[in-house]
Subunit: 747 residues, 2 copies
């Protein structure tokens, strides 16, 4: 589901030491392994690597993307069964866990413009002879899942990307969307934010379109000549308000088992009240061309050959949508290899199997790599190797509509996961380019080490080195480059958009999200053109990055499964949190300063005087001055965390080679992440419990780190910010106390 | 000629104290006037203001833009005669000084594309029923004056804006323009830079087009519905390499009198060797659409509904241009009102009268305001008032092709101007919006005081206050806003693009350039649509800003003409220069740091590793490390300048009310600017002699302050930079010594 690396935005931050130092002799030890056991692990990995076959990955992609397979479809069931059969074949103890989840499918979709300039929208992506699967009949039509049913007619207003700041600009221009239908561009936020903000402002309908500037001919040649969105392409997708809670909207916090208590749909707080429809730029153009009113601000304008106006105009838009709201089966495929030493410690690896249509890229490219890992593990098993810990390989259903399969599974097994889950390693779509890696920051050194052992298929340097080069070259300033040269590797923080969310943010399982990409941009995302034909031309033509992903995620799983002492490093976690706190303190200071200056400008009528008197212009309003917040609880907790992590790293390094049973320490180590959970969860959305990572209330997929504090500051809720400082400080102190316990056990 | 305020780029920097302090009681004293004489001056100005009539300015614009009147045309002669008649009528002693200058007019213009996709360019702007003068037959066709004759056929390469950095990107992509024709977008530099850089890189022809992103429907509704460039509009204009020297290319440094020695055209170093043609976006689209090769970098792409490729392609472009190269008469209208007290001290006011076609905006809107000033001065004369100093009102011919009229006049009268010229006050086009004021920085307080006395016609606050509000609101950062709040008013530094250039940069006459604009964007510039019909709809519909310009420039002229002690303030000049030096020192340090980091990246192959292996990519080359330069000569000279200006301001303030004859001090004051001239002129272009201000070698109109040093640094010529530091230090020391002399005379 997650759109990765789109529009050249490489969001994962990496860094590095002087590059020259990189190509060195192969490592002799592995983090978490005793000197003695390191070489065995490296041999296992070498054997594992030998099993990985690019051609086989390509064949898997072709097989599983041969027909549409969204949740609830016949194709979906077929894919689940086929994946289960594969896992079984590889020696995994495999079952399908079925949940019953709500999933709306369109019955009626109509969009037309009435008035002098009439237009009836096509709402249809045409089949192309260059794309073998594009004409199949089982496709879901173009729509946004979780749109409300609705039949509305109103003038249209163009709202840019439909974000809160865009509505502030509309207010400056004197334009109100109350009772109107809005049209927003895809991009800059997760799509579900757009109708949510529109609804908050009183709009009665929402259209989302792909502007050719962001996703069309402006970016490059269009499909099928090139990879980018042609004029008829449409991005499907969920508009569930996942930042409140993901999963089945009717069963928050509990698994959607047949017997689960279900909410009435009207009471599901993550569902919209207004109709929403995604359209192509072919369908958007006549609507936008008919708009009158002010010319849109410069940074709102797209690449259609028109003058973008904000609206409204004399024309009205009629939007009529109706859905079939049924409970449907959600098939999670779970394959297990029992751990020989610690069967109750689970290393979980997952990728979803459902797609919006054929989904060769999203999710099959990731699923195919994961199955290739499973195949290689199967081969290892045949040599007599057994993992110390239990390996759990999962193929999730219903990720696309809102992480349904993984969320229901996690909610069902929450208590067990808190006891047993060592790590969750996620992937989704995959492509050609650079390693992207996000996750829990105590896993940074372990992922860095892994990235140094995987060779980039195009350049023959490590994927660590290549990613670092990319980050260095594209850093925004000389200072940023110098910082990157200092810090060799950074995991990005995780927001949402794929199946790691419930593991990490709901129950506190340490998580990773891995993918390759950045050299595979295109417009196929969530369209009928996300096909095998598209994939082999524009994504990863040789499937070599499928192998790279299998190597990366495979090593991540195997090392966690077989480690003597689990390779968590809390020094990295400490400096990450410390960085966030510094950032927040600076942010408050800057906000205080800018508020003072802006208020001065507003009071002196500078905004009014600078505006063109011939235009409508409402100047911004004076805002409350920003108080000084007490960050000392956080600072003191961080001082304690720093102190304990400093000593702990050394003692863990020594412990790994001792002959004592590491069992109790390991249990404490992998459950440390849970100390960072907030007892009450986040404000407005208690499903989210991690103090460090959450999707933003107004960004969607995009992460907000220390979200309780950060969003209170952004919303200028100063008391709430102060309360959240106290809560995060408490979580950090909990973690510090927990680490003191580990330090005691190991010293 | 100068395109002011286009694309929202308000380049003149202003600043201010707390806004609240502004609306105060009217001033009682005037800078440069004794307490006794101040009230008389204010009465004179009140009388002057009463004569200014917006309707009359509108009528003048209509009259003088009624027919095409480029240099050498019948219409041009007619305008010159009519302006002379007006000045005579107002009581000015008026003559026409005629020079004989080269001016090419097209004989042949052909552009076509051959190959599979054929296209023959229209090269013609259609007449519109909404624009009364758009169908007149005497129009100059669409062309770039000073293009070479040529008949070339070659593949086409798209070079973005055609600037040096664009060719560096082409080199990264492995694209060479040698033997090719290039197509560049208008914008980001003066147009003449584009063919010059193309020629330097071996291109054999150059096409310049207006992309709808910068100058068309992307910006707003197109003409005649709105003000922006329609698909057929073309920007004419000069491509003389004016940054080497402006004026008649055959007579550098001397006036183009009939008997002047003339260069052979082939030896004129400011003329191109390749053919250049401007075209519309209607004509550009098929050419761009036929390009193949890499997709253009994101910031190169415009708003045509195509994927922009860099080229070349299989298609070839055939460009054939031939010109009639004749000497033509250039009519400068010079009207004088003899000074009663100091006839040999000249306050010069000028605006050009020639246009590319009808030129309602450029230059007639400025000329009409200037004539309104002259009318008001005529009325003052009738009351018996006489200026102390001589007023010289000038209407220049041949500004459009390269500042011909003003440059030849200045070169002819250079020695006299060095003795007599107190100030040169320029205007050009004018429109609705904010005051833009550039010039010699010793004039800052005087201009600030004037700006506070002129009332903005739309908001009823002073134009000072309105401009400051605009600058504050649009400042790029909170820090920039705080800086603006500290400094109440800044004159921008002058580059080129209008008739102030030779006064200021060739002979060292203190200069000002004044205009209103910013609320009048459009695409009429240098097209047949720069008409009265366009002007009254989109530029200054009530002509109220014509009155504002007449008030502003009129006060500037009258105060200089009648001042007791000329209102130069060298403290402002000192802090401006000090700011430039700080900027240059920081720039060298930053360049040193970035060179070190970039070289590290290049040596470690980061650029190569970050590039997509499927694309051609040539990494940048390691550059020489940046040495430490010795800025101490400048710092020491500045210390002396600071010392003397500190004392001087006080003593001048006292002197103004004393009864001594200020004559000798005034003569020293207005000639101070000449101390800043460089004996040898600037490197590569000794016509330019000012140490502080010059148009940039690769920006054209855009100023480079302390150009000798700054451009040497930009070109990484470290020895030259050090030499230029010595030379600028010498100029500053000369100025300091000169000011010591004034201080002695006044103390």
């Amino acid at each position: 589901m997650k759109k990765h690396f789109v529009g050249g935005a490489l969001v994962l931050a990496f860094a590095a030491q002087a590059l020259q130092a990189q190509v060195t002799t192969p490592p002799k030890t592995v983090l978490g392994f005793s000197d003695k056991n390191s070489s065995g692990q490296l041999q296992t990995e070498a054997l594992f690597d030998k099993q990985l076959d690019a051609a086989n990955i390509g064949a898997s992609i072709k097989t599983f993307s041969a027909y549409p397979h969204h949740i609830g479809s016949a194709g979906g069931k077929q894919v689940a069964d086929a994946v289960a059969a594969r896992l079984k074949e590889y020696g995994f103890d495999t079952k399908i866990e079925t949940f019953w989840v709500l999933f709306p499918v369109p019955k009626t979709r109509e969009l037309e413009m009435t008035g002098t300039a009439k237009y009836k929208a096509l709402l249809k992506e045409p089949a192309l002879k260059e794309d073998a699967t594009s004409g199949q009949s089982e496709q879901l039509p173009t729509y946004n899942a979780w749109s409300a049913d609705g039949d509305v007619t109103a003038p249209l207003v163009f709202v840019n990307y439909g974000l809160p700041a865009d509505y502030e600009e509309l207010e400056r221009m004197g334009i109100d969307v109350k009772g109107k239908i809005v049209i927003a561009k895809y991009g800059r936020s997760w799509r579900g934010i757009k109708p949510k903000v529109a609804q908050e402002h009183g709009a009665i309908g929402c259209i989302i379109y792909s502007d050719p500037k962001d996703d069309g001919y402006f970016a490059g040649d269009v499909y099928p000549k090139g990879a980018f969105k042609n004029e008829y392409g449409v991005q499907r997708g969920s508009v569930m308000d996942m930042v409140i809670y993901p999963g089945d909207p009717l069963t928050p916090n509990v698994g959607a088992t047949p017997e689960a208590q279900r909410l009435d749909r009207a009471n599901a707080t993550n569902l919209l009240k207004i109709p929403v429809l995604p359209i192509s730029y072919h369908d958007a153009r006549p609507l936008l061309e008919a708009l009158e009113g002010p010319v849109a601000p410069e940074n709102w304008r797209g690449a259609l050959p028109i003058t973008y106006h904000v609206g409204p105009g004399t024309a009205s838009v009629h939007l009529k949508l109706a859905f079939d709201w049924q409970l449907r089966p959600c098939y999670d495929v779970i394959g297990t290899v029992q751990g020989a030493a610690y069967p109750d410690e689970w290393v979980i690896r997952g990728n979803h199997h459902d797609a919006w249509v054929n989904g060769a890229g999203d999710p099959i490219s990731g699923l195919a790599a994961m199955l290739e890992e499973a195949k290689a593990i199967g081969a290892l098993l045949k040599t007599g190797w057994k993992p110390k810990r239990t390996l759990v390989y999962c193929a999730w259903d219903g990720e696309e509509p809102g992480l349904l399969g993984s969320t229901e599974w996690v909610e069902t097994h929450a208590e067990e996961l808190k006891q047993k889950a060592v790590v969750y390693i996620n992937s989704d779509g995959n492509g050609r380019g650079f390693l992207g890696a996000g996750g829990s920051h105590a896993l940074e050194p372990y992922m860095e080490e892994i990235a140094k052992t995987v060779i980039d298929p195009q350049t023959n340097v490590s994927v660590f080195e290549r990613k670092r080069a990319d980050e260095l070259v594209n850093a925004s300033s000389v200072n940023a480059k110098k910082e990157l040269l200092k810090k060799p590797f950074t995991l990005s923080a995780l927001g949402s958009g794929s199946d790691f969310s419930s593991f990490l943010q709901h129950v506190g399982v340490p998580a990773l999200n891995l993918e390759y990409g950045g050299e595979d941009p295109g417009g196929e995302y969530h369209s009928i053109y996300d096909s095998y034909d598209d994939y082999r031309r524009f994504k990863d033509p040789t499937f070599a990055y499928g192998v790279a992903l299998a190597q990366t995620a495979g090593r991540a799983a195997l090392r966690m499964a077989d480690a003597d002492l689990l390779p968590f490093n809390f020094k990295n976690l400490y400096s990450t949190i410390n960085g966030y706190v510094t950032e927040l303190m600076t942010q408050v200071d800057q906000l205080r300063e800018s508020t003072t200056v802006e208020n001065q400008l507003i009071r002196s009528k500078a905004y009014k005087l600078a505006a063109d008197p011939l235009d409508t212009y409402n100047p911004p309003k004076v805002q409350d001055e920003v108080p000084y917040l007490d960050f000392s609880p956080l600072q003191n907790a961080l001082r304690d965390l720093e102190r304990v992590t400093r000593g702990l790293s050394d003692s863990l390094n020594k412990t790994v080679n001792s002959n004592v049973d590491h069992g109790p320490v390991n249990k404490l180590l992998y459950r440390s992440e849970q100390e960072l959970l907030l007892q009450k969860g986040l404000p407005y959305r208690d499903w989210y419990r991690h103090s460090l990572y959450a999707p933003g209330l107004y960004t969607g997929y995009g992460v907000k780190t220390m979200p309780g504090i950060r969003e209170a500051i952004e919303q200028r809720k100063w008391e709430q910010a102060q309360q959240q400082i106290m809560m995060d400080a408490k979580a950090i102190r909990q973690l510090a106390d927990h680490l003191y316990l580990i330090a005691k056990v190991t010293s």
